[in-house]
Symmetry: C2
């Protein structure tokens, strides 16, 4: 795979052309994303015209901007004109105003109108990701009529596998699948095999939720309607998969207390990476000063029995790990819809018991390690603290994401590091209170 990089470094055009010929659009797009901006444009320009569009649509918006900025006006216009409207909107959504103007100015009137309509929907809504102008079928028609409509308008539509069925006001009635139409006798009415319980979403609905609905209900396309239930588009499964992957990537980044960044990991700049992480780190280090305060409060105890200090990283580390596990499980269960906001008491009770089980096992290890390295009273303190801290950490870690969602905050911001930091301070209080009790200080 290092091959392309070598070919680019050597400016070996013949070799590059052969390589391009042998690889699929998504593989080529991946190499373009990894290359430097100059080499990315070089590689892209070598593509045959009919393949260039497919490769281009596989790129992330920041890489699309790089490539476009390196093209001459004529190629630039042809490319953005040929893009699917939803892909174009995705590109424009993240672009600087000047760039967006250049794109819009180059479009034909028809495409500009379609694009502007999609841009009118809020960011993160279904409207931004849908394919507009689907092939719709009137409720009163026959299968033969419907197939005729597919043949007439199907070339321009992004998908024809699911056809929304509409009444005379273009309002949504249900869907038919192309499969049913093909398998049916041509003279049978569409009404016979319309799925009138097929779900639809509003164009202003949340795009991630719509994508998860498609995954749950095994849909290839999902009908999108406006506020008056008129069909305005279809969300296709390939876009839904991208939405789910993107949402998972964001959730994973948030779970590690980083804000998501846009674009390819290997092409994003060091500064952008640092920026995506610094805000949470600053918040967390300020929160961590709480641990300094707690330890200052117990400084006399600490000075009396220095051995207590030896177990601080082990204790707060373990508590943090248990809390992180619980929080991660809860965030994921919320994301895929297995847990709901109302489940707080049930989840808290379950996780508290899980934490106790874990705490007893880990406390036993703590007792042995402590007994070997220091004297027994400190070991007992460590073991007892582990039991309590684990139960506490599991309960806090699992319920915080649910409570966050209840007050309207994205549960994924309840990251493992945030839970860890909070558990650190409270865990230390538990530790020193038990120490005073056990050691009689």
């Amino acid at each position: 795979m290092a091959e392309v990089e070598d070919l680019l470094d050597d400016n070996d055009v013949v070799g590059l052309l052969r390589w391009l010929d042998e690889h699929r659009p998504h593989e080529i797009a991946d190499e373009i994303a990894r290359a430097s901006p100059v080499q990315a444009v070089l590689l892209f320009r070598l593509l045959p015209k009919d393949e260039a569009l497919t490769v281009f649509e596989e790129l992330d918006p920041p890489d699309q901007q790089h490539v476009l900025s390196g093209l001459r006006d004529q190629s630039f216009r042809e490319l953005v004109e040929a893009m699917h409207p939803d892909d174009r909107v995705r590109l424009l959504g993240e672009a600087p105003a000047k760039f967006a103007q250049r794109v819009l100015a180059g479009l034909s009137h028809r495409e500009r109108v379609t694009t502007a309509a999609l841009l009118g929907y809020p960011e993160g809504s279904v409207g931004r990701s849908m394919s507009p102008e689907p092939v719709a079928v009137r409720y009163g028609r026959t299968a033969g009529h419907a197939l005729e409509a597919v043949r007439e308008k199907g070339l321009e539509a992004e998908t024809v596998y699911t056809l929304p069925v509409v009444d005379d006001q273009r309002c949504f009635v249900g869907t038919v699948s192309l499969r049913d139409l093909v398998l049916s006798a041509p003279d049978r009415p569409v009404a016979e095999f319309v799925d009138d319980g097929a779900p639809r979403v509003r164009a202003t609905d949340d795009a991630e939720a719509a994508a998860r609905l498609m995954s749950d209900a095994n849909l290839v396309d999902l009908t999108v309607v406006d506020s008056e239930d008129r069909v305005v588009g279809l969300l296709t499964i390939d876009d839904a998969v991208d939405l789910i992957e993107e949402a998972d990537t964001e959730d994973i980044a948030r779970q590690a207390a980083a804000t998501p960044w846009s674009g390819h990991y290997m092409s994003v700049s060091v500064v952008a990476l640092a920026r995506s992480r610094i805000i949470w780190l600053l918040l967390l280090i300020v929160a961590a000063t709480l641990t300094v305060n707690v330890l200052q409060f117990f400084e006399a105890t600490l000075a009396q029995v220095t051995a207590l200090a030896l177990f601080i990283p082990l204790l707060v580390g373990t508590g943090g790990n248990v809390g992180a596990q619980a929080a991660t499980a809860a965030v994921r269960a919320l994301a895929v819809g297995e847990v709901r906001v109302g489940d707080v008491p049930r989840v808290a009770w379950r996780e508290c018991r899980v934490g106790l089980v874990l705490g007893v096992a880990l406390g036993a290890v703590g007792l042995v390690v402590g007994g070997l390295l220091v004297d027994l009273p400190v070991a007992v303190t460590v073991a007892a603290s582990l039991v309590l801290v684990c139960a506490w950490a599991a309960m806090i870690g699992s319920t915080m994401p649910l409570l966050a969602k209840r007050v309207g905050v994205d549960p994924a911001v309840i990251s493992a590091p945030l839970v860890t930091t909070l558990v650190d301070a409270t865990g230390l209080i538990i530790y020193f209170l038990i120490a005073r009790l056990v050691l009689g200080l």
Copy 2:
């Protein structure tokens, strides 16, 4: 949504029937997964026969087992006979032997042969998730012939949107889409619109990789072949989406140092949850005794300047957070294919610089906090340690997943807690060495 739980508690059959009538299969499946085993069976039995299968196929295998175990022999047999072969294999893959025997014994000969063939593929392979017996088209035929084949065999096939094109030996040549067939004139040869570069995978290939390929290449179906390139099945996009969601859930669990569990978060037992977490916690607490050793080694320094102890949780916590962010980013980039094993030096150098940027910012905070709470030399020690620890943590955290993959270990096991624990011990060594230098001990 609490409605169903109330209806179940009240044994309100009329209310339940109305509720079932008003909801979609995937919503009903979700409620069954959340209910107790007894109530799950009650709810399932109330379903009309034609809907029962769809709901059943939406359940996770452990919940499917619960439901099946509550059915009478007749219904049991009818249900497993009607399942799609790939769903049946998924159920059997996780079931105890006795249960699996009961399922296989109830099948018709034909279904038993198909099921046994799929079960012959290794766990986690494409063969286990594919739909067997796709509608294939001969290369020499016309579009009209191909549509005829779809009409004949399409009712039994799970999908007809992508048709593998085969030669006389049933070997893979490419694919045609139902869309192209419908849009084309019936007398045009299939050869004209076959996509002969369409990717295919071996039945023994990794299922997650195949699913990610479908997502990258925007495929609705992916052809599956045997070792002699003969078409044996199709992987459909709805199964691919499930595979991706499952893989992401597993990666997320591993990122928090838990082993993935099977089934619905709300129906899995406390013991199973604890078991999924305890192994890593035990390993990590043993690794954490390293921090106790390090601190024991520096105990004299600690006894001389107790103030150093106050910043231990803040320092190791921050280092752990930076390491966790870097590790999480690297694991995700590997999963979605943005980073490759060969990228170690490039990633290490990038993340080292990211870590330095972060360390300088956090070190400044450390200096201020330290200056306010204790005397300046300790504050300087804390600040300098933060700079070095952050750079070190980012480098270690980002490269460890890549190195793990290189030696054949799942990179997702390089969890945030594992990185945190390792960074803790090394971070403490850095801290105390700097302390000795700055404080002149």
